[in-house]
Symmetry: C2
DNA sequence: TACTTATATACTCATATAAGTATATATACT
DNA sequence: AGTATATATACTTATATGAGTATATAAGTA
């Protein structure tokens, strides 16, 4: 991923780099799972850990990348930091939509989405 | 890109890896340009070099990757080897389509497409 | 058969990336 | 103020990746 800061993307100068960076994001399974989850529901870090079964630093680091290039935004609510999609451009939404439309081909994603319907229950299980 | 051979994809077992590999393909500007070109027209290697201005080994190596994971197929016609898209699954076509729908955001791609309308003229310019 | 041309591949190097483990930070709670 | 908890980051290591240059291959042509 090119080392580009959020401010850059806010100015929206280089759409092409932004597009290839978006695809680089999607080329990692963990990040793809995170984005598809957030496409359905605003979630906190430990809910994402619980749902995906991945470690907290792993999830956090990927979220940091997504945040850096402006694809998600975070917001604290009491003890938790919730993440939400931040897709200003239609292309990106459209691409995620294509995946969701074919969700039956992707059991991992489908199962994640099922689990995120009861995301709250992962809040407790987060205690280490 | 995971080191997976064409035979694997033909069996279509792991759709998820295939999907992330597809995104990894698109995350490189040169490969993205190639795919968008081939989305419009069957082209030979030296036409693609001419249109994109990239070196022959660079284009060839990227084509090899695309071929290995089954996204393109090649076919010799006299002296030239022509490449063509080989997208069996709708998701991938759909994603390329989204990009083409927003082509005005991507001047490089737009210019490539313009040039590929007179691709033949790059056949001659190929001589080194 | 020798020569040219189109394309593919090998080799090298520099850089990027992901993951794990440990630790820092920041807010909440007592 | 001190402790627990949620999340972020630093550090390390192993691996992957892309580009350039040189060279190999394979078909076409003289």
């Amino acid at each position: 991923m090119s080392d580009i800061k959020p401010e850059f993307y806010e100015r929206k100068i280089d759409f092409m780099n932004k597009l290839t960076d978006f695809f680089k994001v999607l080329s990692d399974e963990t990040r793809l799972r995170i984005l598809i989850l957030l496409y359905h529901k605003k979630l906190c870090v430990c809910e994402m850990c619980g749902i995906t079964g991945e470690s907290q630093p792993k999830i956090s680091k990927h979220l940091a990348k997504l945040r850096d290039i402006g694809l998600v935004k975070d917001e604290r609510q009491e003890q938790f930091i919730f993440y939400d999609l931040n897709l200003n451009e239609q292309v990106y939404k459209g691409i995620l939509e294509k995946i969701v439309d074919n969700i039956n081909d992707y059991p991992v994603l489908k199962s994640d989405i099922e689990k995120c319907k009861h995301a709250e229950k992962y809040l407790e299980s987060c205690r280490r």
